[in-house]
Amino acid sequence: MANYSTNEFKGGLKVMLDGDPCAIVENEFVKPGKGQAFNRVKLRNLITGRVWERTFKSGESLEGADVMDLDMEYLYSDGEMWHFMKTDGSFEQYAVEKKALGDTVKWLKEQVAYTVTLWNDNAISVTPPNFIELEVVETDPGLKGDTAQGGSKPATLSSGAVVRVPLFINQGEVLKVDTRSGDYVSRA
């Protein structure tokens, strides 16, 4: 991979730091009155998701990371691995470990496309679409006529996620949910 110098660090650039692939979040050029120039850089570790703040001397460089984001459809889980297939017509499949799947495990639905991040051709993380439609498999019975009030109750969705829903929602209904916040949006 190519090396990138601090002045090429832009949001989204993927680089290697301490052996892990990272995405640049923010890069600030810092220079005291008459002193040496530095770059204060925020990087998101693509494996742990943690954000690191590091300082580099201006002009220093980091090796690029062979990281790609690909659209893949979720197929099934065999209990140990979760299997996804590229949506580019190649039918190429990737097996994803639980660790890489992280919180996305509770938003999985067959035939939905997810963004799978590959590093050196291994899946390191899976990002769900921002909105997903899922069926309610368990919740307290809906309260008729209670469509205006602000109350809410927990509902378990077919993917396993538990979200707060309005009191009028019933088991078996399909809901639109925001996967970033875990909030109920509407009936689908």
Partner: protein, 328 residues
Amino acid sequence: MVTDWRPTATLEILRERARLLAEVRAFFAARGMLEVETPVLGHGGSTDRHLASLNAEATTPAGRERLWLQTSPEFAMKRLLAAGSGPIYQLARCFRDGEVGRRHNLEFTMLEWYRPGFSLDELIEETVALVRRVLGRELGDEAGPLRRRRYRELFREHLAIDPFSIELAECRRLAAERGGLSMSGASRDDCLDLLLSLAIEPHLGRGGIDVVVDYPASQAALARRHRDPEDGEWVASRFELYLDGLELANGYDELTDAEEQATRFDEDNIARRAAGLPEVDVDVRLLAALAHGMPEGSGVALGIDRLIQLALGKSSVAEVMAFATPRC
């Protein structure tokens, strides 16, 4: 076809910028100072190890020459002072390679002025008056009180160390820890610079103007040095002015000794060689002017783009420039 042809500042901001520049000129006109314009291209450049100069090839009567784009108009203005110009100011376009960011632009406008016969304290007072004038029309007198802060006192307060006496190894360890990088082999000044930027600067100029004085003698650049009356330590006779965490101005009790100046240029180039940086041609005409005699006095350089940015409540210099570097 590219889509980013539009200005990085709004037209409204550009009108405000023009008005503030007129304020600056009115401020100096009222004080009887002469506005000057000196060349952007010169035979000599800044040797400062921390400034990267751009150069240009040009055909002149002397043939094909390498000329330097100025990093500040300092040398040419000092030659004017030596020629007897009296107090002068300039809104000068300057160039510093690699300096692009929220607070930096590859080329920018420096407001620089020189006051023969002024002490550093008198110049601090005038600089603060100028800053308040530019901010004042917009914000009332919100620049707040003026605080004079000693370099050493700031390090004691924010980092609990004495920057003059701390062991180099300890200084490196602390800088590495704060910055999350290796500082092995770094000089004391490099470590102190990093600590100042990361741990101190963000706190400066909050709710008032901070003027930092008594820098280490090793950071004197083109300023005189004097002994601290309190502890006898050599310090640089210079100041920096901060507002809202931004360094706005850098002032010197100007070095007028040609020999001392020549020595510092040579030391800079030796340090450049050692660091694998290109050497910069020394401005021999500045040295000749100093040898002829430059009146004693003080001078200051102020980043006018940053001051305008603060006056107009913007968060980057790009927002007060017609076309900032990425779109130049």
